[in-house]
């Protein structure tokens, strides 16, 4: 694999892309001006095989970020120790620059059986769920021997019982665990677009205004990474699904500028999971993020002169 080795200037964010199966060959053989590669941790949970050989090759050229999707940090039912240990083993081998998972639940007891939902399922924002998530994050951090990043969710239903807003909940989580947030800007936009359908008596909100307000409620010190993505448009009265199947949307780019200005040089990842484009198209999205970062931070430097 070739890396263009263009060093990202200090005070500029690290920019990476998510690596998916369809890009494995190109990622190993095509020059790429990116700072890190994010992989889904569970894709490398096997004890051996080709996937580890691939990750070893990737690691030789890029920093790796491990993005987990299965811990279910908001699950009332504890994740098995083996699951956390597998993630810890992976971290110990590949020394990722970041480890993240989601503010969701996945595990629950169904008919006296521990069941994994295989998805990122929503939680209510209240003291009970906060305590559960605090315990789970602390447990994960203790086993992983590092702080983790927790990503905000795109949710397609609101469970009853919330007494906090999502941002209040996430800030409290950071205060109590020292974890940081992986702010997925597209998830905020999707939630804004779906707002009136999820809350039947809720009002329609303007995505940009909703998202800016959301970002304003998060102290910069708690933000460790940003995710950018796009998703497929849907008809009115249909919930938009965060399918990561399109280029980053114009709204998300606008909000990315806003987020960088607010949070500083935060590591940024382009996610594209479905309807995969060419590797070059994905890299072009990363280049666009770099251009925006350059514009934001150059303007900041000019302003301080």
């Amino acid at each position: 694999m070739l890396c263009l080795n263009k060093q990202t200037p200090i005070d500029f964010p690290l920019i990476g892309v998510g690596l998916r199966h369809g890009h494995y060959n190109e990622a190993l053989n095509t020059p790429a001006n990116i700072d890190f590669i994010e992989v889904h941790a569970e894709n490398f949970f096997s004890a051996g095989g080709a996937s580890h050989s691939l990750l070893t090759d990737i690691k030789q050229h890029y920093d790796i970020s491990l993005h987990a999707t299965s811990l279910g940090l908001g699950s009332n039912l504890l994740a098995p120790q083996k699951q956390l240990q597998q993630l810890a083993n992976l971290a110990s081998i590949y020394q990722p620059i970041m480890i993240s998972d989601h503010a969701c639940f996945s595990w629950a007891d169904v008919n006296s059986q521990a069941v994994h939902g295989g998805d990122l399922l929503p939680i209510p924002f209240n003291d009970e769920s906060l305590q559960v998530m605090v315990n789970n994050v602390l447990r994960a951090q203790s086993i992983l021997k590092r702080t983790i990043l927790v990503e905000n969710l795109s949710a397609y239903m609101a469970l009853p019982g919330s007494i906090y807003t999502e941002t209040e909940f996430l800030v409290k989580l950071c205060e109590l665990t020292d974890c940081k947030l992986l702010v997925d800007i597209n998830n905020i936009v999707v939630n804004a677009i779906n707002h009136s359908l999820i809350y039947p008596r809720g009002e329609t909100v303007l995505p940009i205004d909703y998202a800016k307000n959301w970002l304003n409620n998060i102290p910069a010190k708690y933000v460790g990474e940003l995710h950018l993505a796009g998703c497929t448009r849907v008809a009115e009265e249909q919930l938009m699904i965060d399918d990561h199947a399109q280029p980053v949307s114009a709204d998300v780019w606008t909000l990315y500028r806003y987020a960088l200005a607010r949070f500083g040089a935060v590591a940024t990842l382009i996610e594209w999971d479905e309807n995969l484009p060419s590797w070059q198209t994905l890299l072009a999205e990363a280049d666009k993020a770099k251009e925006i970062a350059k514009a934001v931070f150059t303007a900041k430097v000019e302003a301080t002169k």
Partner: protein, 293 residues
């Protein structure tokens, strides 16, 4: 306590893959036993997402079976499997252990043959995920000058055995070669072909079984699945090799067998280690020879 109930309830609704009856409220809220108001459209998204993820995962794990069954029917099978077999694994790659048995008990045409192909798929998949084993060719030198009771063998990564009423390797190879030869070979044609194969190898045996032919009762085909490098391979083996490999693959960690002991335990007199060893080394079924402590 509320959270526990909520989460259990939502998961059981998602796994049920059933659309909930609409309430009077056009805003599609559902009142449930534990006072949850769930968005119907949202619930369907999670149900569809689970089915899509499960289908994707099992299509990877059961690649051959999925291609023979066809996309639509395979998805229906996965849906039924989800409803009966909760996902108890956090890793999709490990889920599907009982899928072959599920197929054999299903109403899918040629279910016995398709179930055995699924079992072979699962064995290959598990083999490919097994811990890497280093090929130690130098250790083979021990065979030349060390007593067989002091030596043990290590098979390649993830090696495992399988038996079936069907010559799975021949059947899969025949179907693949016919469909590769004829690009327009439809799923309907493949299904016909599988029905022919199923009748040829399976039903005939059952018929003869009914006539209480002990010879036919014992009619089974044996397979070894192994991984020379990263890609699993399989081949048909005879009963004596199956018995020989069983000794190595079914051993408990506390019992390290020697080659001499294993040969003593072999009931079949047809097995020749002199013939087996060079082939096993060449095919990388054998990873190393080690001194027994």
């Amino acid at each position: 306590m509320m959270l526990k109930k909520q989460q259990s309830h939502l998961l059981s609704l998602i796994f049920s893959q059933q659309i909930q009856p609409k309430s009077d409220d056009n805003n599609v809220a559902i009142e449930s036993a534990c006072d949850m108001r769930l968005n119907q459209q949202g619930l369907q998204i999670y149900q569809q997402s689970l089915l899509a993820n499960a289908t994707r995962a099992l299509t990877i794990t059961f690649a051959t079976s999925a291609s023979l069954i066809g996309e639509v029917l395979f998805r229906d099978l996965v849906k039924s499997y989800l409803q009966r077999q909760f996902k108890n694994q956090y890793d999709w790659g490990e889920w599907g252990e009982k899928f072959a048995t599920f197929i054999s008990n299903s109403h899918v045409a040629n279910s016995r043959l398709l179930a055995d192909i699924a079992a072979l798929d699962f064995a290959c998949h598990q083999c490919e995920r097994a811990k890497n084993q280093v090929l130690d060719l130098a250790s083979m030198q021990l065979l030349a000058n060390t007593d067989a009771y002091q030596l043990s063998i290590i098979l390649s990564s993830g090696a495992r055995l399988l038996k079936s009423r069907f010559p799975l390797d021949e059947i899969i190879s025949e179907i693949k070669s016919i469909s590769a030869f004829n690009n327009s070979y439809s799923l309907k044609n493949i299904t016909k072909l599988i029905t022919c194969m199923s009748a040829k190898y399976g039903d005939n045996v059952v018929q003869k079984d009914r006539q209480s032919s002990t010879e036919n009762l014992a009619k089974e085909y044996y397979f070894i699945v192994w991984r020379p490098e990263f890609q699993a391979q399989y081949k048909q083996i005879d009963l004596s090799e199956y018995q020989w490999l069983s000794l190595w693959l079914m051993k408990t960690p506390s019992k390290t067998l020697s080659i001499g002991q294993a040969l003593d335990e072999m009931s079949s007199k047809n097995f020749s280690i002199i013939d087996w060893l060079p082939k096993a080394i060449e095919q990388q079924l054998l990873s190393a020879i080690k001194l027994r402590h």
